[in-house]
């Protein structure tokens, strides 16, 4: 078992998703149980499904100085950086510690593959990309972190984590290691994934996409709804922001079972959970809220519901927010980490939107309706293809 870590302050954070731009719009939607999914109006060819699309991405042009990074994914990153004064907070941290002492670790599953898809739709007569898209940086999986490093002027360790749907949860672990070892004094973490044909038609090919808005943990669930999101957080030592909520721990594991199906007994998910609790020096009965992975795929929800039911007391509350935002893939980790942090800061337990008749594996922990209650400790689960699991533990700063 791992040894407990020194908690880190989450001194700033922000998210942008189908629920809106910035934290306030998310809190408003979650408080009113108002989802953000719409009928698919995105893919380059028709596909009957529901998506969590962010309004205004197309209008968030990058400044001329960063034009080489232009693509929809980086526009969403740029839009996201401007919410909740995050950009200013990040630049302030750079000023305080020095550019080389601030790490940048971002998660994404598809980076800017949407731009590569577009280039392939517009190949010239000789089969080359059109001139405006002949920009090698956006056709590589590091496109997002490369752009954000340049936009924020950061010169510390810089890494893209791309482990499918656990990507932007794992970034908290990378950042904690860098700070623990003194390789950085602070870290900007987060993730961005945008809608693209690859994921819409890819999950469709796997028969995992629901024809109706996704219904996590409902007996009649029919699959996932794909969404997009951007989110960022600042991690620092707690002395620098003593009142900020804290990263208490994290757990990472591998299922060693199947590329696209979770372990039937949730072995890897439970290992990640136990690992996170051990690092946070917590017992399961101290956990007040869990933001679940809850994709609304048949298998994930069955396995995850059983894990919650067997591992937690009835006092723990649990819900999936994917009925609000869709499954934002590589950005799900940071988006749902923000929901866990908001649960602590605002006492807000979001409803499990879309679930009216819970799967038989669901225990009394499931919050079907929105609740207000004191939350001191909140977890967030993120599981990805390849059996890649992460669990994050957040807590309130001591009074």
């Amino acid at each position: 078992m791992p040894v407990p870590i020194q908690p880190l302050a989450v001194s700033a954070y922000t998210v942008t998703s189908a629920l809106g731009h910035g934290l306030e719009s998310h809190v408003a939607a979650l408080s009113a149980t108002r989802g953000g999914l719409r009928q698919n109006d995105f893919s380059s060819a028709p596909l009957a499904c529901w998506i969590g699309r962010v309004d205004g991405v197309e209008d968030a042009a990058l400044p001329a100085a960063h034009a080489v990074w232009e693509c929809r994914n980086n526009r969403l990153a740029w839009l996201g950086l401007h919410q909740d004064r995050f950009l200013e907070r990040a630049l302030d941290v750079r000023q305080r510690y020095g550019a080389a002492r601030v790490a940048l670790v971002l998660g994404t599953s598809t980076a800017s593959i949407g731009a590569t898809e577009e280039a392939y739709r517009r190949l010239d007569d000789e089969g080359h990309m059109p001139p405006d898209l002949r920009r090698p940086l956006i056709h590589a999986p590091h496109s997002l972190a490369g752009f954000v490093a340049e936009a924020l002027g950061l010169e510390g360790p810089c890494l893209t984590v791309s482990t499918a749907c656990s990507s932007s949860a794992k970034v908290f672990a990378n950042a904690e290691r860098l700070i623990q070892l003194g390789l950085a004094d602070a870290a900007v973490v987060g993730g961005v994934d945008t809608l693209c044909d690859s994921v819409l038609f890819g999950f469709n090919a796997l028969e995992l996409v629901s024809p109706e808005p996704c219904r996590p943990f409902d007996q009649a669930r029919r699959g996932i709804s794909i969404g997009e999101a951007a989110g960022f957080a600042l991690l620092e030592r707690v002395g620098m922001a003593p009142h900020a909520p804290r990263l208490l721990g994290y757990g990472e594991s591998s299922d060693a079972h199947h590329m696209s199906t979770p372990h039937p007994e949730g072995l890897g998910a439970e290992l990640a959970l136990r690992d996170a609790l051990a690092r946070a020096n917590l017992h399961a009965d101290q956990v007040d809220y869990i933001n679940l992975h809850g994709t609304a795929s048949l298998k994930n929800d069955e396995v995850e519901a059983a894990l919650v039911t067997r591992a937690f007391p009835t006092t723990t509350r649990a819900s999936s927010t994917k009925g609000f935002t869709g499954h934002t893939l590589g950005a799900a980790g940071i988006l749902e980490a923000a929901f866990a942090l908001q649960a602590i800061e605002r006492g807000l337990v979001p409803a499990n939107l879309g679930c009216t008749t819970p799967d038989r594996a669901c225990g009394p922990q499931f919050a079907l309706e929105v609740e207000q209650r004191a939350i001191d400790v909140a977890l967030s689960n993120s599981f990805g293809f390849g059996g890649n699991n992460a669990c994050l533990a957040f807590g309130r700063a001591p009074a």
Binding site: A100, Y120, M129, P136, E155, A173, E252, S254, G268, N388
Partner: protein, 265 residues
């Protein structure tokens, strides 16, 4: 910042002309070495998986197997970090071409093989590894960033870690963007403590604001320039052959990672 110390216990290498680390050592001694088969054998994978697995997975699994075998460690117990500048460019080319023409005909298997962590997924499944696994990228600094991440994991967790860095050759329009024209992979098993299995000791130090130092040297036509992982890792690979030496690799755009190597006593 103090240096990070890690001990190399195993080394894996594969390219079109190098079957393993022994072949690299022989080549560096000036001996002629037999070219390996066109497809990396990746014998750690079950036969059915080996037939289905894409080239990026075969390459990563091959060098990972070599490094773990040399270390004598149990593969299933090692946390692992897989780093690649471009991931599976053949699948990206296939997917983008298919999406442009007949999106509903996309292959489900190729889609789930397209994730950047496909090699990590196949590896952990084949070895029964429940330890943390990661898949990272950092552009032209993918090798140095991978080494830094693996060493950080090794030291904070106080346990041996497997690092795998690999890139295949690109294809089609996306291949023109990556410029990767050959396959190359290398792998290291790193341990936080010196022990009977230690081959070399690495002292790693970050050197910030190293922009100009990290600019690529003028091209010489050497084969390793045709692959982003090979060109980044080559100076360290040569030091591994010698058992000592110093080199600097990019860990980020302007961040250098200084690697001082000594033969383990």
């Amino acid at each position: 910042m103090n240096a990070l110390h890690a001990f190399v216990e195993g080394i894996g290498v594969w390219s079109a002309t190098l079957a393993d680390f022994a072949a690299l050592k022989a080549q560096e001694r000036g001996e002629s070495v037999a070219a390996p088969p066109a497809r990396p054998p990746a014998s750690m994978l079950p036969a059915s998986e080996r037939r289905r697995a894409p080239e990026s997975v075969l390459l990563a699994v091959e060098v990972a197997s070599q490094a773990v075998a040399m270390s004598g460690r149990e593969a299933g117990e090692l946390p692992c970090v897989f780093s690649s500048a471009y991931g599976d460019q053949l699948i990206s080319d296939y997917m983008c071409a298919t999406l442009a023409q007949a999106p509903t005909e996309l292959s489900p298997t190729r889609f789930h093989n397209s994730v950047h962590n496909a090699p990590a997924g196949y590896w952990t499944i084949a070895t029964g590894c429940h330890a943390p696994s990661s898949a990272i990228t950092a552009g032209h600094a993918s090798f140095g960033a991978g080494l830094l991440e693996a060493a950080s994991l090794c030291i904070t967790e106080q346990q041996p870690v497997l690092l795998v860095c690999s890139d295949i050759a690109g294809h089609g329009p996306i291949g023109e963007m990556s410029g990767s024209q050959a396959a190359f992979g290398c792998a290291l098993v790193l341990s936080p403590q010196a022990g009977e299995r230690s081959l070399m000791r690495l002292d790693l130090t970050l050197e910030p604001h190293a922009g100009s130092m990290l600019h690529p040297a003028p091209r010489t036509g050497a084969w390793q320039e045709a692959n982003p992982t090979a060109s980044a890792a080559w100076s360290l690979m040569q030091n591994l052959v010698r058992g000592s030496g110093e080199c600097t690799v990019a860990a980020a755009e302007t961040l250098a990672l200084r690697i001082v190597m000594e033969t383990s006593a």
